[in-house]
Amino acid sequence: MNRRAFLKIALIASGAAIGGYFGPQLLDVANTSVQSLSNDIQFGASSFTTDDWKIPHLLRRAGFGASPAELASFEALGVNGAASQLLNYEQIDNSNLPDQPNITMEFARKPSARETVNLVWWWIDRMVNTQRPLEEKMTLFWHNHFATAIYKVRSPYLMFKQNQLVRSKGMGNFRDLLMGITEDPAMLIWLDGALNRKIAPNENYGREVMEVFTIGVGNYTEDDVKAAARSFTGYQIDRLGNSFFNAKQHDNGVKTFLGQTGNFGPQDIVEILAAHPATAKSIARKLFAYFAYDNPSDDTVNRIANVYSTTGGNIKAVVEAVLDSDEFWSSQAYLSQVKSPVIYLTTALRSLGATVNPKAAVGTLNNMGQLPFDPPSVFG
């Protein structure tokens, strides 16, 4: 949704909210005001005579907004210093946050509503209170990219483990992240990798790893899907919820995958996909859209993809290139996104320092259509 379309909806929605509470006499005022805004406002850097918009813009995109005190501390660093602090978060102490949610820390495929709420709230609370906002923003990005839903996994524990995986590897090397996801127990359940045996290959993960996670549609054939599925055979999950590779269930035959032939296993396929130029472009395009704006030019995508390729898939380098780009600091990027429900909620809580009833807030997120750990499909 673009800004103009959004403004029309916001006009109706905010008018309804205001009118519903304060009466029709103010509805006219509000409608007139918002209507005039949609005509007059100069959304964009060009409308600002100073750089006052830059730090709020950075903190909204690379974080979850900021309280006045936090905003002041970032403004004191200047734009480059603020971006650097967001990017280089490894040394920032985050020990005030709970390490784990209040869920049963063992593998049982019996999710309770209480545990699901506790799991979701644990993550929302991290977004609101973390001292490393970009870490959680990247965790949210990869949760959407490797969309896995609790309704099929049916284990809050495994969903938590996957969340920890993408948090720990989310700014590292894409190959390592993809390998971790390939072996991740929640993913093995979600895309049926744990059912993928040499006598009956299951193509679900082999297809999605190319269609959604890496090179994208148009860059592979059905034969490549079959070869990938055979190469991924052998993963299973033990009674403790750990994945392991059962060599007896792995297809050791020769496969031809994306023009290369060999006795490929999971790591080979991951290596080939992570190094593929189409993966560089798809990850660059998606990260750019996440932080800056939709539909970047081919030149922009190629420039960011080149960072991916020349660094061997270093995600942090790609994110840094996006945040350092002229496009990120342009009027085209400024306020060009509509807040998702999760961002809408967490930004308000972080800015205000307010507390809410977790169960009610999680219910509100569900009503708004974005419940973490429960994406609607593999497309996030």
Binding site: A10, S14, S67, A354
Partner: protein, 75 residues
Amino acid sequence: MLDRYNFPLLVKNPDNATIAFEDSVDTATRTLFPEGLPANVLAVIQQSTDNLTDPTEKVRNLIRLTISTPYYNLN
């Protein structure tokens, strides 16, 4: 949509929030949109909260109205 705009009513401890009822509308709304809202939007919020005497209700409704604006909704 109404569920969405009812969200601030779930705030348990508005007194602990960074917005206080003594703040001017401009100062208070900058907590949620640091660049500052245009004068005509501030006027709507001012008019909509002036007559509320209960400080908690005043803060709640100021938050509610601010996050209903396109400025807060856009990222």
